[in-house]
């Protein structure tokens, strides 16, 4: 199956006003998603998963900061024309300044099309001026944001929809549910009559198994239970038939029974509507049971990616040391029953304000010993293709 989306070299920094320094949110992220599949994004809290998800839709508005990379996406056929028009419009033709970041070369127009997919970040880095690290500055924030918005207004909601953690916070508490839903429906289906909107809403509520739809329309979000709220959010998300659904920790705040139901719902949606999904979670067991392909993140880097079978399922196959540790740490039933102490990964995630030389996982890596340690400490590994379609960012697999 063809790829629906490809992300390469994502880099997101934020500027902290208070301490006046830059925070690295994402350092180097990449993945590929096949159409109709579920990709799982795994990592600890704070490793940059949510930022990645948000940046895919240009929702980074905590500027100043910087965002760079290439995000190729295949939009719906009817949106392609407008998307291309937006991409081409207003790209600054200025000469870009010299940069000293390992970012790719030169100032040429990079191609924005690839295999029928389009680069949604095209032209973004034209507004970025890099100075000596670690300080970098965005040259023209509004133009940058406006450019993002112009490209993304076609994408958001229509082509890519996102479901956040903590559904209670995703809905405007000042407006009843029905009104919010109506706004979205009207936006993507202009010219619908009142009854049509009503019936569409009820239809969608049915498909997410939310009853009684009639009553829910009039309620205010704070009165909904968490499970119900999450379903509403999902209903709104799929109301425009997007191609990609990003689920950012959709079940983390829910109790177990709700969790099962929501996962069930999401899986059924993927099957019935040929939806593609990116499932983000810190729970590798959950992701492993749901996803077709896996990407593992650590400290802002993508450290491993491949299909589910090679990354998680095969116990003997090659893995990044972090993935290995994660899988080991997952408690087996027998262990919990026996009341034994759980295993942990020693150490802490590196802070995001200090510079990291070399591999970010090195301080906690069990393989970084001896001669290898020197290498791991001083050089950054790339993603090496260990097997076909299985990439690992570790010097162990360099050749």
């Amino acid at each position: 199956m063809a790829n629906l989306a490809e992300l390469k070299g994502l880099k997101v920094y934020f500027y902290d006003q208070r301490d006046k320094r830059f925070i690295r949110a994402v350092e180097d992220m990449e993945f590929e998603v096949e159409e109709g599949s579920i990709m799982g994004l795994v990592g600890e809290s704070g490793c940059g998963k949510t930022i990645t998800a948000r940046s895919l839709m240009g929702l980074i508005d905590s500027y100043p900061g910087l965002i760079g990379g290439k995000f190729y996406f295949r939009p719906r056929p009817e949106d392609t024309l407008e998307l291309v028009r937006n991409i081409r419009r207003g790209v600054s033709r200025e000469k870009t300044h010299s940069r000293d970041v390992q970012y790719g070369s030169g100032s040429q127009k990079k191609p924005y099309k690839k295999d029928g997919m389009f680069d949604l970040f095209y032209g973004i880095e034209e507004f970025v001026t890099f100075k000596k690290k670690p300080f970098t500055i965005i040259k023209d924030t509004e133009k940058w944001l406006r450019r993002m918005d112009r490209i993304m207004e076609n994408i958001r909601g229509k082509n890519i929809a996102i479901v956040f953690q903590n559904p209670g916070l995703s809905l405007n508490p000042y407006i009843p549910v029905g009104l919010q839903f109506e706004k979205t429906l009207r936006r993507f289906n202009p010219g619908l009559k009142r009854e049509e909107i009503r019936s569409r809403m009820l239809e969608l509520f049915n498909s997410v198994k939310l009853y009684p739809g009639q009553k829910i329309i009039g309620m205010y979000p704070p009165s909904l239970s968490v499970g119900m709220a999450q379903r509403v959010v999902i209903a709104i998300a799929i109301s425009s038939s997007p191609k990609l659904l990003i689920a950012d920790e959709p079940t983390t705040g829910l109790d177990t029974s709700n969790r099962i139901r929501i996962i069930d719902l999401l899986l059924s949606l993927v099957n019935e509507k040929a939806l593609t999904m990116i499932f983000i979670s810190h729970n590798i067991g959950l992701v492993g049971s749901v996803a077709d392909s896996i990407t593992v993140m650590y400290a802002g880097y993508a450290v491993e990616r491949g299909s589910n079978s090679v990354v998680i399922m095969s116990k003997k196959g090659p893995n990044h040391p972090y993935t290995e540790a994660l899988l080991e740490v997952m408690p087996e039933e027998s262990e919990i029953m026996a009341g034994r102490r759980l295993k942990v990964i020693e150490g802490n995630v590196p802070g995001n304000k200090i510079e990291i030389k070399g591999c970010p996982f090195m301080p906690r890596c069990r393989y970084a010993r001896g001669k290898l340690a020197k290498l791991c400490e001083n050089e950054k590994p790339e993603l090496y293709e260990v097997e076909p379609e299985h990439f690992i960012r570790c010097f162990l697999f360099r050749e």
Partner: protein, 291 residues
């Protein structure tokens, strides 16, 4: 609805308590000054009597000027309300668009010229600013936009009403305070989850952020500025000869006419508390309701 009613009743009761408190304070202060005044008798009985008469709006006659207080104060009250409300309106009309603009354009509009200008504007003493405006107008239009009963209003009512309101609206640091508040609140709200989620759905961010970002802080600050506006109005009324409570208060001070001052203070409290209650009611209705 019943909840709101109980709320209003509680607020009214608190207002009554406050009025009692303030008048008690006034009463104690007044008794320090030699000579008789509004109240008959002294001590607790005089106080109760005073309260009764205040609440029934029987203000009596001023011992200094001999004029019936009510006929003096009520029209002045009306005029001051016009001035106050008008100037709040102006402040909001000017500040909110600037605040929205500044929040959406990022820091560009917060750049040097605007910041400096807003600081200067908030530091100019009102008495000079008002007079300066009068001077400009008299040079350019050939007459003074000072309120002289009947004469001025006939000639050009627009100018006579608008300028003092405008001056008061720009004074008192109101504009820059509202701008800063709106900008900060909008920036904060635009980062909250539900606004980001609505943006993710493709909605226009301003629409979603409007309630929490603009409406609520605006209501809070506008109604809390009422006491300052009444106070600031004193100077503006003096400069423009506006027949409001501020000018009346000043005249009474010069004439040592204490009862009038008391009545003015009483009415001011009413305005301020009314503002607070309206603000609380509005906020109550707009705030997210939880079951």
């Amino acid at each position: 609805m019943p909840k709101a009613l109980g709320f209003v009743l509680r607020e009214l009761f608190y207002t009554l308590l406050l009025i009692l408190g303030v008048t008690a304070l006034m009463y104690m202060l007044f008794n320090l000054m030699p000579g008789t005044f509004l109240g008959k008798g002294s001590g607790l009985k005089g106080y109760v009597d005073l309260i009764k008469r205040l609440l029934t709006l029987k203000f009596g006659v001023s011992p200094v000027t001999g004029i019936d207080i009510r006929s003096l104060v009520f029209p002045a009250f009306k005029n001051t309300v016009i001035l106050t409300v008008g100037s709040l309106f102006i402040s909001v009309i000017i500040s909110v668009p600037i605040g929205i603009f500044s929040a959406f354009r990022g820091f560009k509009s917060y750049s040097w010229p605007f910041v400096v200008l807003s600081y200067i504007l908030s530091s100019i003493p009102v008495f000079y600013f008002g007079y300066f405006v009068i001077y400009i107008f008299s040079r350019h239009y050939g007459y003074l936009p000072i309120y002289r009963p009947f004469v001025e209003v006939q000639r050009n009512p627009f100018i006579t009403y608008v300028i003092p309101i405008f001056v008061l609206g720009l004074s008192n640091d109101s504009v820059s305070e509202i701008v800063r508040l709106v900008t900060n609140e909008l920036n904060r709200v635009m980062g909250t989850d539900y606004v980001v989620a609505s943006k993710a759905r493709g909605e226009n961010v301003l629409v979603g952020a409007m309630y929490e970002g603009i409406l609520i802080p605006l209501i809070s600050i506008v109604f809390s500025k009422v006491p300052y506006i009444i106070g600031g109005a004193v100077i503006v009324e003096y400069v423009f000869n506006w027949p409001g409570m501020g000018r009346l208060a000043f005249q009474s001070t010069l004439q040592r006419d204490l009862p009038v001052l008391l009545v003015i203070a009483f009415l001011s409290i009413l305005i301020v508390r009314a503002g607070m209650i309206i603000k609380d009611i509005l906020l109550y209705y707009i705030s997210p309701k939880e079951v």
